[in-house]
Amino acid sequence: MTEMLIRPPATDATTGMVEILDGRTWTRVCDYQELTPGRGVAALSAGGAQVAVFRDRSGALYAVDNRDPFSGAYVLSRGIVGSRDGVPTVASPMYKHVFDLRDGRCLDEETAPDGRPAVLRVWAVRVAATEGAP
């Protein structure tokens, strides 16, 4: 069994199972090939949390909370992936706030309406090359 880094190199040959880490357990998301470049999917972690998993045009993977702190709705996985000043981003489909996919920070506003910092939790993500869980 091999593990790849959080940001796998862009290659069409990449196959395997995308997984996210919930503390100690890796949870399966889906087959890497199932992810559309530039879009995301929502997944449930082993602990029941909602996670948005994205694949960008270069093939890199990112995983952040699915909850948009500005609307409280679980919709970030349905946002548009892009870049701002070279930084990989996702724009919330609700009120269009843009988040840095690397560290989960909101690039438009620092604070969410509930007074908390507008930062998404970032989840570890990998592609497990073999079938079967680690």
Binding site: P37, A43, L44, V75
Partner: protein, 868 residues
Amino acid sequence: MTTQLQDLVLVGHGMVGQRFLEAFVEQPGAAEWRITVLAEEPRAAYDRVHLTSWFSGTSAEELSLAPTGFLAEHGIDLRLADPATVVDRAARTVTCGSGAVLRYDALVLATGSYPFMPPVPGHDAAGCHVYRTIEDLERIRDEAERLGPGGVGVVVGGGLLGLEAAGALTALGLTTHVVEFAPRLMALQVDEGGGRLLQRKIEGLGVRVHTGAGTQAILIGEDGRVRAMGLSDGRELAADLVIFSAGVRPRDQLARACALPVGERGGIVVDERCRTRDPHVYAIGECALAADGRVYGLVAPGYQMAETAARSLAGGRDQELREEHRFTGADTSTRLKLLGVDVASFGDAHGATEGAVDVLYSDSRAGIYKKLVIGAQGQLLGGVLVGDTEAYGLLRPLAMGGNPLQTAPEQLVLPSGLAPASGPIALPDEAVVCSCHNVSKGEIRAAVHDQGCTTVPEVKKCTKAGTGCGSCVKLLGTIVTEELEAGGVTVDRSLCEHFAHTRADLYEIVRVAGIGTFSELLDRHGRGGDGCDVCKPAVASILAGLAGGHILDGEQGALQDTNDHFLANLQRNGSYSVVPRIPGGEITPEGLITIGEIARDHGLYTKITGGQRIDLFGASVDQLPRIWRRLVDAGFESGHAYGKSLRTVKSCVGETWCRYGVQDSVGLAIELELRYRGLRSPHKLKAAVSGCARECAEAQSKDFGVIATSAGWNLYIGGNGGMTPRHADLLAADLDKETLLRTIDRFLMFYIRTADRLERTSVWLDRIEGGLEHVRQVVLEDSLGICAELDALMARHVDAYQDEWAAVLADPDRLRRFTSFVNAPGTPDPAVTFVPERGQIRPARPHEDGRILTPALVAGPRLEVHTA
């Protein structure tokens, strides 16, 4: 310590009276005064200028000019329906209808005018009306309703007001005549040529015009009501209802009765500070005869008088300041839309100045007439514009500036296609750009370079320019852009950080270079990076129009906004709503029942939309395909409520059922909706078709609207409701259906090709060079030679249309994305919860404990929703 308050009595709470109060309370000395207002009408001041809009549904409350709380806040005692009857100047008292006697230190008369009734026999018979107050309009409407269609209305007077009244009568369904004594319509504002053209246009709208005809008598029937009108040329005109609109006369009776000087033809004589001969008495508005010897029947000069009188009375201790603001006369330029015809006149419109010459452009086929009056020194003195008043904003300040023209006058009247190309026409700094608020070009420039305003809204806020009638806004925009550019600020219109192009540029690139994907476009023409939520959907829309294919196929799927991505509309809690297409708003009982059943079986909330269809709310991503399946099986298809594309073509019931209708508006609306469904555009597109001029479908508030005439269809474009309403402009009149379709095809394709991202047709039409006239030339006369291309693109769209829902259902690959969680298909989203309200569901608020709607819950035909 209290100072003794002085007493101010204002007689008349009309437009000018209210403006006086607003100006007065702002003066430094206002606190020394106690204000009482005597009003004859039973309601506080309202917008008389827009009185006619009352017929099209604007309520009396909406017309009101007195902001709520204004009177109370300033301690103003307004006495409604209590007119002043006697003024005693020696005792300084006013007696009013209720019998009360009020003392005054200052008296302001703002009593306005009364409609002039020609002294012809029978003029007071039942069925005769005037047109000045809301009560007048109520009476006219009641009577028109009683008469029903087939009734005949005659308006005496073909001036501004008469034509407005005629428009109202036509809209009320009466056969309408206008009788004008002068040889032409609007004799005050337009010259002979303009009058002729105006007459032709107005007759084209179904109003019969009789110029050069005097009213000799009103003939009365046996029931004591109007039966007919006898004309000076011996003819007899059958009439059930008559409106007198033969001019107004100043209401100066109070002044006459207390021996204040009045003019020979009426009007209370005032000086430059709006004082009458008695220093304690002022007169303002339409009842005053101003220092320049004129009575002004327009609201803007009245407002200036109000300002003058307010300063004079309470402008503080400084005598000079009090006297600084004087009313010495005003510009009577006007620009209006009468029965949908644009008319403007400004300055010396009749060429009365000695040595003046005319420059004329007239195209009777297009219905355009423009005349400029040029002075001996080559300066612009005034002019008349009919049919196309685009240039008014520029020409009026030029005429007021009085400097010799820098441009050949022909260039100022020729349509943009014919005029030789030239730079922007130079306006001198002192030219008044906004006459409502008296703001010069210099002040606007100063707002940009001294006060740092960079947008039109900022300049509006800072200078007040453009916040009155709005006719100067376009010119304002040009000046602001010029000034910014002169200051080295380039106005950046690039789409986003990834493309240095406008949306229209990208459209051309994709079209000419035949680019098929976003990646290709970004690699070849982008500035690097990965794209974003601005450029991706914009390019997706361009590709959808030019390259075709399902919007979710291949890379295109990744570009779409979430609404397009899921072919449904995202709502606040992350659920979606579904809108099936109901073309023209026509639906069978079976169709209604089916939609009802589907909504009930899936536990959805239902609401009728403004676009005459039904919106089903509360669906989770997983439910969408199941809901579509049932809709598609029952013969429905996607309504594209999620897309930047055609929404609905709304219609009224039209000729088929309505007793006023002249064409089948529902049939046409269905045809249009089916033709343009699925057409991707820079923004959503709305449309409507009305079966007659009463306009029940509100076609003039749509991107394109069609109104039936007895001769065909009138096509309006660029209307908008919503936050910034805009009335649509008439693009072409009396079209047959084939020409109508072709014209709409080309208009839509031209808009899609040239508009900015998220630019509605209303904004586009105001922005593009040459405006409406340019669009008319492009789509009707093929001035750019692109019509064949536009036609071909539309033909391709019509052929290639497919229902996006059905296409998803037919393809397991596309269907796969409709799960809440990729790694737990079938698990509903636990965050999407609902609570019951008024017998349906609504999203649970954060503190509420709502329930998930799961397919499992939808066991029986009825879904019970409980809070846990």
